[in-house]
Amino acid sequence: MSNKTAQTKPTGTTAKPKPLPMPLDMIEAALANFVPPVGEFNPDGDFTLSYKMLTVAGGGLGGHAGDLFLHKKALSKNEAILDFDFTKFGVNCKQKSKAKIRFKTDKLDSPIKWKYESKLVDMQGNLFENSEVQKFGICKKNSVEIVYKNKKRKIKSKNPFALSWLLFDAVQKLPREKFEPINFTLIDHFDQIKPDNQISFHGSNVIDIPKKEKLKLHVYDQLGNGIVPIVYYVDDFGRLLFVVSGIEVYILNS
């Protein structure tokens, strides 16, 4: 007769999964099928990452509200280009946006200049009349100029600027330890100026999700004017996996 010791794991039982920390608990259902990417990732190098955008207002799996593609290419040791491609779903329509953003590869990925275009199309891809926009942005010392059809608007700031979509890259390279919060003026959606923003390191979590136990995440918080708190989660290689801001969520396509 075998004599099972107390160290032997009883059969037929499963450990209760650890609850997800806030705000990941808002996307628990959406993470049920998430398979983290394998293999290394170099946040300082060239990459292509794509994300599904969800609204989790109704809870559960959330509604698929759009798709985001980011393609980064290094130009030199200190500068890079981010190609941004974003489709936002509407009712029987899509808003398609593209941008080419040149930036410095410093802490905030400080923007240098960008060209942004958007248009509205139906589900067959036909263009809606009068729906196209093309804008340029140029950052200079302490100011940014937004240009649309030869009209310029100049906005000054005592803080450095950071562009919302570039922060998806910047967080991948931030230190994974407490640092003094970095203050900046946010340029949201390419032309909405939101002062008094900051980004800081929150800490590291190890979470269990159905397709992966012990997934290590490094967490950054963005707070400030004109946003509800935004939380960025990067993996141990620095790859951005999730962004959660209230009921707006981005999950890496894996």
């Binding site: 808002m26 509205l120 926009v133 906005i155 004109g226 509800v228």
Partner: protein
Amino acid sequence: MSNVSTKKKSEISRRTFLKAGAFGAAGMITGCATGKSFMSMFGKSKPNFLFIVTDQQNLDAISAHGNPYVKTPNIDRLVKNGVSFQKSYSTNPVCSPARSSMFTGRMPSETGVVSNDRPIHDDIPNLGELLRKDGYETVYAGKWHLPENWPAKLKGFDVIPVGGGEGDLVDSFTSRQCEAFLHNRDKSKPFILTASLLQPHDICFWAIHGQKLVPKDLRFDEIKNKLPELPPNHSITPRKPKLCVSGYGGFDDDQWRYYLYNYYRQTEMVDADVGRIIDALEDSGQADNTIIIFTSDHGEGAGRHMNVQKWYPFEEAASVPFIVCCPERIRKNIVDTETIVSGVDIVPTICDFAGVDPPKDCCGKSLKPLLEDGKKLDRKFVVYETHVCGRNIRSDKFKYVKYKGDPVEMLFDMENDPWETKNLYDDPKYADVIKEHRKMLEDWEASIKPILPTKAVVPTPNWIQMMIDAQYGPGKTT
């Protein structure tokens, strides 16, 4: 041009803001208004209209009205350049009914939209139909909710389709398409563009999801000292009719403050979208001849009387921003604390400026003489509806509330008790005031033409159906 270099903090402290009442600390400010309309370089040509509607924005969720917890530089531009009304009321502080009045000039009991998810009665023309007949290009972008949230087609309007998700996802979409329209349109015709933005309505989900979005332990240490103070009437719930359910019990004080923090950030989000649209109006060379009307469908509980959301008589739900500006036609920098205005006034005001007859049986008043020349409006009170059977009178100094079939009525002295902390209904000193307000209500009821409710497109919750049955008879719709 906006300037985000260092700004001095508002001199109005948090305490002063909270003491001053729900209408801001500014009072009546006379700025550089000329007091007279003046000819534009276009003479008396038909003006354009930019009608911006937000969702669930409190009257005092605007920094120019003295609120130190929110920064709304773009809405502040409208306040500075126009007339901002401080006694401004939704006709029925919930989405569909309020919006039905904004687009028809009729009360919700007259449009048939007595609760959410109902269409305006077919026989009642909307603003787009009225102006289109007169040669206007009539365009609509954003939330409609009469009954569809995001329509592909609308009677009287060309629709710029948007949609998908909630305010944080949709408003940038909507404002971008409004920007495109303003820059790209054929400028040979006058236009009316409605930009219907959804924020700060997202706050509804902070109450719905409770602890997940508003946790007991604040996750963000950095904002601990930046959370808004609770309002003075936070835990006060005066004696009220049964249907005026309030008291969201899900939060402790710190959670309420974090809830307010998010509400004001969402308000700032919509302010940025307002900015994009008015920048586009200016940059496209159409601002001089465009009248901007800015309002919201209803307010938000924001912790007042322990409330979240809307659809009850208190000020936090019922009072809404109402700002009108146009550099060439309307007085500037006026914060009007005297005139009582309502969502039913929007249509007759626009029609008056456009030189178009107002719709038949319109119960609102044109504010044009007041806006252009400061001519006092002849009005003693407005009425707003709540919960199908609730009727609320806002007179110069008082608010009176009566619900059909409920013995509890309410009377507030709005001059001395703007936070509505003491129901004076049982105080014999106010018996004459109550009698006077009951007479106002009778006169008003005799003046309107109510119809049966239109058919809702989603099942009506039982508690609302019971009210409708009690008010109109069982199973009656148009």
